[in-house]
Symmetry: D3
Subunit: 232 residues, 6 copies
């Protein structure tokens, strides 16, 4: 009834688009696409300064069991990002050195996991980036069915297989595959706008002026007072 399944083949976004996105970062893309698609802030990178950007291979495990991650290894391709979620909360260390090596052999860029990981010293040495909720050796079983490449909820965001996942020190963002082209355009525009802002800042202009925020202060009845004369 539950239609548990493994989909080995999914549609991935065009590589040219993915490559272009690699010039940007999570906060910029999240803002550009309308402040949506950001995963919870408790997903943190194990390697500072990491950056990955690629199509999602989604895995849905039952809490405390990593059977479906093993099944997913067959589905990954170079450049993919493995996105792991669980049915039921979990901080188990679902991925360690062995699975990481298998994923690296296949060319996977990294892992986003709404649970724990382990062998973090080895993963750092291997240079394999992971964003996780915890570092925890707690082991899993390998005997409960789930899904590979079904829509899943990871970090509070729905992720479909083939959606573009970008992750850096700020966190993780999802770009829906159908929106990739539009979001890329919006991202480029945002970066242009930010360049102008940066030069204004360098010239000593105040954001309260160039964003025209003084009328808002006024509307909000914020008054300017003088410390020495006014006693509030």
């Amino acid at each position: 009834m539950m239609n548990r399944y493994v989909r080995l083949n999914i549609e991935r976004p065009e590589k040219a688009f993915v490559k272009e996105f690699m010039d940007y970062d999570v906060s910029t893309v999240y803002e550009a696409q309308g402040k949506i698609g950001l995963l919870n802030y408790d997903l943190r990178p194990i390697i500072e300064g990491s950056f990955i950007c690629g199509p999602a291979i989604t895995v849905t495990c039952m809490a405390g069991d990593n059977l479906m991650i093993h099944a997913a290894i067959e589905a990954v391709q170079p450049g993919d990002v493995l996105v792991v979620s669980t049915i039921g909360e979990s901080h188990h260390g679902m991925i360690g050195e062995l699975i990481a090596r298998a994923l690296m052999e296949k060319g996977v860029q990294g892992v986003i996991i709404d649970a724990g990981i382990r062998d973090v010293k080895q993963l750092r040495k291997l240079g394999f980036p992971v964003w996780s909720k915890a570092i925890y050796s707690q082991g899993t079983t390998k005997n409960r069915g789930g899904w590979v490449n079904a829509p899943c909820v990871c970090g509070g965001v729905q992720i479909n297989p083939g959606d573009l996942i970008m992750a850096d020190d700020d966190g993780v963002v999802r770009i829906k595959s159908v929106n990739i082209e539009t979001v890329l355009e919006l991202t480029k525009k945002r970066v242009e706008r930010e360049k102008i802002v940066k030069s204004k800042i360098k010239n000593g202009e105040l954001s309260i002026d160039f964003y025209n925020l003084r009328p808002i202060l006024e509307k909000e009845e914020v008054v300017y007072i003088d410390f020495f004369n006014v006693n509030v």
Copy 2:
């Protein structure tokens, strides 16, 4: 009615005192001033090994809105520390690269924020130290009034504009501006006492002896037992 305001001018502590404090650290000052003024431990630095010490420019925003941070940029001076609190809990990324650049242009030492920040990779590259509750790209609006340089509560501690703020790897401490001279004296004395303790430790003396703690153990009915003979 709520008297929302911006105070551009505040009284800052004498620079000579601030400079002297730069030889010390958060834990020492906190202890020296009587175990008060310490902000909550969930405010953590984004750059390991950072140290800042300067007068507080206080900002009170409504949760999820950073309008007043923009207003505060006009109020800061070189050496200041921006202290941001929110009315209502918030993990929003209220400060990113652009605001950081604006603050750096003005000579601000760093930021203490009881909310989230973003563009953490860029902030690290810029070497701009921030103590925050979260790293989170979640964006803010810019349209709700609040306060600049009003007394605020940040990390559970009341901070007035012009109070001295010190932050390092241990966390953040507030020294009330009226107490600066006294606390400086107490800090120096404490450091002297600690030097003596360090040399005692180097000589192999036990703290239980040089702090005279054995009578307390006795009063607390702590007995010394021999593992091999006594079965408790």
Copy 3:
């Protein structure tokens, strides 16, 4: 009535065994001994890449008081690991530079503490590894009795004095002193098995095959579907 005591002498595991364990890591040992003995994941190292492995000197303090840590310094020997727990939850900074120096003078490898620590910058400079629940300057008193080298609960696990404690980037594990020899054997066997798995992975074999997981997928009614033809 509460039988508060200090035991200065405990039985420690044979050094040869301890030395052999130093070739392994927390996750491996935890798994090898049957997925038990792992402390809570909120105990995190202050120095990335640290590794310690030695007999536990256990300290039980009343929350907010570190009197018994001072008493414990008399009981430690080179190679020991200080394990600190509290009666009542605590994030107080119970250990700082002074106690750390005293422990280092005595040759202690490091500290596991189910509470907070402070002077973390100095501890990092000294290279003294600590696993703690928080970094917090919050000071303690020194006047409440407790226990040194009594059985304690640290990170949710019962630890007896003389148990072997191993800690690395993955967390902290306890090996009961009575099981040391057996666990060492099991650990070695596990490492051998993992070597074989690593070479299989390098040869491109799938874990779903060499762990024989396909029958489990089948039993769990996980079906393989084709993205392009099947609409679920």
Copy 4:
């Protein structure tokens, strides 16, 4: 680009099915449909003993803003359950007496909200059941666009408009609209099985026997020992 919208008309499950589900409870349905669809346990009822079961009207708000809840009132029909989620974490009190009265006028059964609520005394007096993450007066703005009757993620579970939502003291479960008939069948079967189990228990039979768990204990190498003779 973000396609923000309000859908006033959705397809609801057949009333006969919904009515039949009213004889069951959350835990039973969750188990019957294969241990899926359960919302996070931090969503708790404000009125002990409440029970609701009806089609989801989904609302997606920006954190701290309840504009879209106002828009949703136009879309609800008698028997509906309002499901509110936010983009960005939120504990704001997004619903109070006024909105509750408006929903009651329209015949809405209750609300599931992945944020806070307020006026809880009045809601209890009105007998209007709500499952929320917090009780918090913190107010919202009414000026940010979002979605009504778009797929949303609430309590970590994806909910589509028209999905069946059941909530009681145990929490909240989602039954996908496409599965309603099947899940109803499975639920009935489960209840039948549980009746048999209850009568076995009443007859003093042990679950370890009637579930045939002794062989599993054996496989797991669990031995029966005698307290008085065996020292482990």
Copy 5:
């Protein structure tokens, strides 16, 4: 240096005003005074349906010590509300049956405490309302100095002695003593406005209309779509 003190006499707001406030509730007053003064939502009542409203007697204790609460009993008068905060986080059960009885003898209405309490069964039987962060038997010492009737931070809000404190099922709000008259006026006006809203709701009017929110939806580019024809 820290100026620890007990102030036995404070200025309290006029009783007539306090009495008038008793017709209102926390959420209404919080909104009326401009969405400020609300304590954190983790302060919850131990007795459902409780309501208190009176001048704050403030107590600042060191975490884990309740000496100053004993000192405060001398300062309370009939109708007062005891507000307890701690320097350093604490969940200790700082108040139990004995202190509650002493406060009741003096006519204190209830307690707001940013820590834990105990003897909750007895407090419920006595009908003594308390808002606290935890129910926890964990005992305190009685030997560390602090403050009675100094400004304090409780639940993230600064409270001065003599400020008006109101608490109900929604939480706790502070009305600054200097603002009492103004806030009372604003509260009355708000209640009038809400009455009109309630009657509109009863008449079946939509809040999206009477709040004039449709133009905002439009500005936010929220479109109305038809489920059956539009595929987004």
Copy 6:
């Protein structure tokens, strides 16, 4: 190696002692035995006003699996308290109506569980008291070995089979079986002392006097100041 076992027979404390303890409560006993043995405050009762007091039958499960609870049903006797802990953190609903009925048939008083439970409405109707960390329908497997009547850590406290467990609205306390007689004496004495304190309070005496706390205030340099004359 792990010595997984079930002990069907344990030594229980004398019934006369257990009966005598039933006149007291958790906070009193915890204080009387020297402020030890108190479980974490996140273990909360599902039925307000519940009280249980009886010998512990201890169960140690692997997180997410309740096999050993089924095994434990064979070991319980009338008046027992089932104490359930897990290896690895867990909020799973490990106990529901069926297990509760089985335990009630056997005369078990109630359950202390460091995880979740479900069917809470039914348990309340049955009047079966449970102290748990969460209410969560999340199901368990029944196939992983553990322990019945081995020493376990529950709520941060070590509990041996046969220890006396008392639970009420304040939480849960463990009295070690070897100390029962002594703790009973100490409890009686404490209650006598509290009676005297209560009568002093009724007579209007101040605790600061009858506990002789004024010298401590003095030692702590707490001064009495007059609000109207002194400006601090």
